[in-house]
């Protein structure tokens, strides 16, 4: 779309104030078209950073919608506000010495048990994550499920903002994912050997030789390596 094209305008209400914006823009671009220079409320512009979460309601509807401004199309006659910060509780911990038990989770986040199963968190998540289901899984200690269900979490904090039990599900999931990761962490024998070989300088003489090589010589080696590269996955 170039500025010379004839563009169809529609009204939106940013924090209650009316602006006319072209149809077909994301909420983020609609904000910018309206003249907002974003500092808070804009990040990766690609749907993974959680900075631009926006609450919006269509005219004559009571329902609140929550979406990422950079990923959600602006719609005619919507009322919107960004919520770029949530003062959610984050417990400090030393992950390496933390016992990977349910007790650890509950002692760091006792409010976990205040979940009343209302599902508001799930309905608030712009990533369509089944938040309440992973909170339930956390309560019964099913951490693999917590990890799998929360993997797409962008830490925007909307689950915490709307939770009537005042949990911060995204921070609880963060803790559990790290504990799962640490439990899954093992150094396969071949990696162990690679690390000790590097430490013992096994590759150093060859790398020293390569550092002195011209591109043409390296290219011959490259061709040889490429001939045995195997499948891409």
């Amino acid at each position: 779309m170039s500025s010379t094209d004839i563009i169809q305008l529609m009204p939106i209400y940013i924090m209650g104030k009316k602006y006319e914006v072209p149809k077909g823009l994301t909420i983020m671009k609609a904000l910018e078209y309206s003249g907002y220079r974003l500092t808070r409320g804009c990040g990766c512009r690609g749907g993974v950073c959680g900075a631009c979460v926006t609450i919006y309601r269509k005219k004559d509807e009571y329902k609140w919608n929550i979406g990422l401004a950079c990923q959600t199309m602006a719609q005619e006659d919507t009322y919107l506000v960004q919520l770029p910060y949530v003062p959610a509780h984050k417990a400090p911990y030393a992950i390496q010495t933390l016992e990977p038990t349910e007790d650890s989770v509950v002692s760091l986040y006792p409010e976990l048990l205040r979940c009343m199963g209302c599902n508001t968190c799930t309905r608030s998540c712009p990533m369509e994550i089944e938040v309440m289901n992973y909170v339930s899984a956390a309560i019964i200690g099913d951490w693999e499920t917590v990890k799998d269900l929360s993997m797409d979490c962008i830490m925007c904090g909307m689950c915490a903002a709307r939770c009537p039990g005042e949990l911060a599900p995204f921070n609880i999931a963060m803790l559990i994912r790290r504990m799962v990761g640490i439990q899954a962490h093992k150094t396969p024998a071949e990696v162990e050997k690679r690390l000790s070989d590097i430490q013992n300088g096994v590759f150093a003489p060859e790398l020293d030789r390569l550092k002195g090589m011209q591109k043409e010589e390296l290219l011959e080696m490259y061709k040889e390596f490429q001939s045995t590269k195997g499948e891409a996955v």
Binding site: C44, C49, A51, V191, F203, L207, A232
Partner: protein, 541 residues
């Protein structure tokens, strides 16, 4: 919404050739063919889009025009407003930037017991790192070695990489994966618990370690959590605007700008680490970009003004597969892992024209050729052009459900616009992705200014003139940690003299003497997309 009618016709072409293409591939370019292709079609070789610098450590060197404009501009800092006797924060180490390089530098420095202050333009972890989909390269596999990784990286970089930096990169790589995993990063694993890896373009072995298509997000969540757990002091929404030197010519901190209150913040530091990322938001050559909102080359501008030397600042990486439709997400990256999994690149007739895993520079050039001189581009209703990335092949090759599982993020993004990449191809065109060059560093991360370090995309030399996929997630952690460690050790022996901003006055005086006047102020800090600028405009096609 799905694809408009005029694009549907071309999709039919792709569908018709699909079963025939399933078990075939396009031959890879020979070395000579590739060199010729790059010379004719890669933007790096187009001198018209470059401008030589008129002053500073790289005087006479060509850089992208958009960068030259910022380098040869007035300082954003109002020097009259700054009183260097009023120091707001005094710290051992100032880390500027909250991406992968900044956080790993801060964590490493903090572990030594030093005082660390982390200043970042937006929120902690807002960065290109968080957007990284593909993976992190490391020779953990039995059939791989740092030696092969070295050769691949050098050849990918057209032989122009700084050898000592590549040596550091490849020998530390397996330790980086180990380090991240030990902190609880959930790398994709095979059923036996070993790492799942794939092979991006230009690599000779499978060595990219991923977490679905959310590799950077998962890593940054964990690092950010760790930074908070360690209680590292943090100033968010406080980008650095200029470096402070002392009367001995050493770097001695920076002046930040609090974006919420629009007030300056003076930080005195014994050592300073620039980890400010790249320049995508300058939209070099008018290309769209895959970069974060804050990627405005601030570190290059500040560092250069203070006298640091740059290397390969002219060299910009265009990722071949940026989104070309829908235009709401124009420029957004489609991970190279999609091609590693079997997706082919097709012209409007539904035919292949390049091997899927050519290096990024070569495939980008091939796409530009296909869409320009060869006239076989797919046209969108809004005047954008592109080629198909045939994603439906992935489930055909690896079984139903593979795409959705492996590329959950990409799937969700397109679903929003009514496009189903499991059954429909994605339209792609090169997008500005990475600043290959930057501030010159040695293997400890030191720039040419004493006590000033650089790590990650703001630095240059590691990747030469073309970076291989999965080497930048690696670069940021190898050199972030190296800079953090060395800067922390150095603190013991640093004695800071009298703080000064005289270098900025001198720089501006030299601009005036040379008759260079500009109403631009820099660093840019954030791009301006207000009003008409919110509407997409592509200048390079």
């Amino acid at each position: 919404m799905s694809y408009p009618q005029i694009m549907q016709l071309s999709i039919k072409n792709a569908e018709q050739t699909r079963s025939k293409r399933l078990n075939s591939s396009f031959p890879e370019l020979t070395v000579d063919q590739k060199a010729k292709l790059l010379e004719q079609y890669h933007p790096d070789f187009n001198q018209k889009v470059k401008r030589k610098l008129h002053l500073g450590s790289n005087i006479g060197d060509p850089v992208p025009k958009e960068l030259a404009v910022l380098i040869e501009a007035q300082s954003r800092l109002n020097l009259e407003r700054i009183d260097l006797d009023q120091i707001d924060y005094k710290t051992d180490i100032l880390v500027v930037g909250g991406g992968g390089a900044g956080l790993s530098a801060a964590l490493t420095a903090k572990k030594t017991g030093a005082n660390v202050l982390l200043a970042t333009k937006l929120r902690m972890a807002d960065s290109n790192t968080i957007m990284a989909e593909g993976g992190i390269g490391a020779s953990t596999g039995r059939e791989d070695s740092p030696v092969i990784h070295y050769v691949d990286t050098l050849i990918g970089g057209r032989g122009t990489n700084v050898p000592e930096l590549v040596e550091a990169l490849v020998t530390e790589a397996p330790f980086i994966v180990e380090w991240l995993s030990s902190m609880g990063v959930n790398f994709d694993r095979l059923p036996d618990g070993s790492y799942f890896t794939h092979r991006p373009g230009g690599h000779s072995r499978r060595r990219s370690h991923s977490i679905k298509d959310l590799t950077g997000l998962e890593i940054m969540r964990v690092l950010g959590d760790e930074v908070r757990n360690l209680g590292i002091d943090m100033l968010e929404f406080c980008p650095a605007v200029e470096l402070i030197l002392d009367d001995k010519g050493q770097c001695a901190g920076a002046v930040l700008q609090n974006l919420d209150t629009d007030t300056p913040v003076v930080v005195q530091a014994k050592t300073t680490i620039l980890a400010t990322g790249g320049m995508g938001r300058l939209h070099p050559l008018g290309f769209p970009t895959s970069n974060h909102y804050g990627a405005t080359a601030d570190g290059l501008v500040m560092g250069y003004r203070a006298g640091a030397k740059m290397i390969y600042a002219e060299s910009v990486q265009f990722h071949p597969t940026g989104t070309a439709w829908p235009e709401q997400v124009l420029g957004l990256l489609i991970s190279e892992a999609v091609r590693a999994q079997g997706a082919q690149v097709l012209n409007a007739e539904g035919n292949m024209f390049a091997a899927s895993l050519e290096t990024r520079d070569a495939l980008a050039a091939a796409i530009i050729r296909e869409c320009s001189d060869r006239g076989k581009s797919v046209q969108t209703p809004t005047g954008m052009i592109g080629t198909w990335l045939d994603t439906p092949l992935i489930d055909m090759i690896h079984g139903p459900g593979t795409f959705k599982h492996r590329f959950a993020g990409i799937y969700a993004r397109f679903k929003e616009y009514g496009i189903d990449p499991v059954h429909e191809p994605i339209l792609v065109y090169p997008t500005q992705h990475y600043q290959n060059g930057g501030l010159a560093i040695n293997p400890f991360g030191e720039t040419t200014i004493p006590n000033l370090y650089a790590a990650g995309e703001v630095s240059g030399g590691v990747h030469g003139q073309n970076r291989l996929g999965s080497n930048s997630l690696l670069d940021i952690f190898v050199f972030g940690r190296r800079a953090g460690k060395h800067a922390a050790e150095k603190v013991q022996s640093v004695s800071t003299g009298k703080l000064t901003l005289a270098h900025i006055r001198r720089y501006e005086a030299e601009l005036r003497e040379k008759g260079i006047s500009s109403d631009v102020v820099s660093p840019m800090i954030l791009p301006d997309y207000r009003f008409e600028k919110a509407l997409t405009s592509i200048q390079h096609v």
